[in-house]
Amino acid sequence: MMSKEQSFREVFDRYRWDEVLESIFSKTKEDVELALSKEKRDLEDFKALISPSAKPFLETMAQMSAQLTKKRFGNIVQMYAPMYLSNECQNICTYCGFSMTNKIPRKTLTDKEIIKEVEFLKKKRYDHILLVTGEAHKTVGVEYIKNAIRLVRPYFSNISIEVQPLKQEEYEELIAEGLYAVLVYQETYHKEEYKKHHPKGRKSNFYYRLETPDRLGRAKIHKIGLGALFGLEDWRADSFFTALHLKYLQKHYWRTKYSISFPRLRPFTGGLEPKITMTDRDLVQLIAAYRLLDEDLELSISTRESENFRNHIAKIGATTFSAESKTNPGGYVVEPETLEQFEISDERSTEEIAEMLRSQGFDVVWKDWEKSW
């Protein structure tokens, strides 16, 4: 009954989307009260906390989440900056500005251009960087990424990537070069709908993507970032599966840290309208539910979110912020005019965001890792 699974696929295949959804929607007020009163919560409690029955408890959840966050993280918020290296992509993703069929000029940064962008971000004090590419094996394959890590390593204490899923050995190579974290979002855990949103390219292989965090765990990565893209399918069911994935990974790859991101579908040129909208209220409920499930979890909020939302969410439970992000390769200085992956919402400068956080009593942390480790 308690055997060690080989990959998350074995766990995942025991669940059915419709049953999960039904189970979440059948949670009652009593289930929510029970979940709130517990010291340690499980995934059934998480379901109750993200269910419609928890809506009247939102303020209580936010208060509890705020207390737990303060207890575990104190009064700090960490800052990071994304840096897009390339918009070349061989995948078709219905919701993405870089999708292969989108007729946009393609651009991949050269070494010189990477350094130019780096120098801009360093002036802004950033010390944690997230390198982002599309999936194009000839131009931005593992060799390109390795080279990029080598180039930026002297400038940053902490390097993360958000690129195509790689093999375990490839991750091991990149970790040896100084890679700290990998962000890999499943987009949606709805297997059939996933196929519709990813009809072509390597990304159309649902299970290969699903098992990517297993490969990362085996490669002993420091941190894995998980998430679902909200707007494709029901956010509650997708969040349950994300939490299930998280709990599985924590048990199997216990040396690794985890973070959760909450990307909501944003407008972009030639873009898809969200099938399901997730309101600000929903997102606050979800963030508080994650904090109540796991008080150590890093919760990351990007510039996809509005000023008003970002002004209030650190107090409730978010621990990591980006600011002034550009979602196009060379967007900071090299070629600010290239097409973005999506339009950001909070356009305030890094300084303004830092000041907003400080005015709420937060210390803004730029460096929280030592690269010589």
């Binding site: 055997s3 303020e59 048990k251 209220r281 209030h312 409730i316």
Partner: protein, 258 residues
Amino acid sequence: MTAPLKIADKTFQSRLFTGTGKFSSSKLMREAILASESELVTVALKRVDVHNEEDDILSHLNHKNIHLLPNTSGVRDAKEAVFAAQLSREALGTNWVKLEIHPDPKYLLPDPVETLKAAEELVKLGFVVMPYIHADPVLCKRLEDVGVPCVMPLGAPIGTNKGLKTLDFLEIIIEQSNVPVIVDAGIGSPSHAAYAMEIGADAVLVNTAIAVAKNPVEMAKAFKMAVEAGRMAFESKLAPVKRSAEASSPLTNFLDDE
């Protein structure tokens, strides 16, 4: 009826494991063990004459419901433990071994470094290794990584009957473990055993508290009932202890009505 417990290739109906030490006679030991309905009974290799079929302890344990779990009590390091396990496999015909390495003769506290080393080697040699360890969550994960089918953290120093002194750490171990967690050592009364089961331990091992009771047979029955009650309560999901959140200035008023 509570769920059975599976460890390696064996399935146990009883979640109470027992031992053979400290009984006033082998006959009483047998009666108490049968009364406990325990199916896994640990026996110290150092106490038995493995080459003698007439050995007093071994002959009293000869029963279809009793699986023997030889333990390495008395060894001081990994090398000796591996040797002891091999000896027991040869003589007793079982590849199950309770790995106990406690070089400290006073409190008999287990040596984590030697235990991990021995566990890794014994797993490679094909043993079903049940390691007796301090309630150390990281050590439990390290042992899981080398392939042990369960972990046996202690509740209190062996033979002390002090109960679950390591409670907070046992809870972390139970939360994190992918393998069954058996609370071993320190359980002095049926209420301790029931509590261990209520917090989600998969089984408990009790020896001294039964052997040293005025009436070991009745005490064995009491532990059997306590373990069953605790497990049943765990499976039935205990009602929560009520807590309330403190009020402070509102955090969600910024949300527009949607």
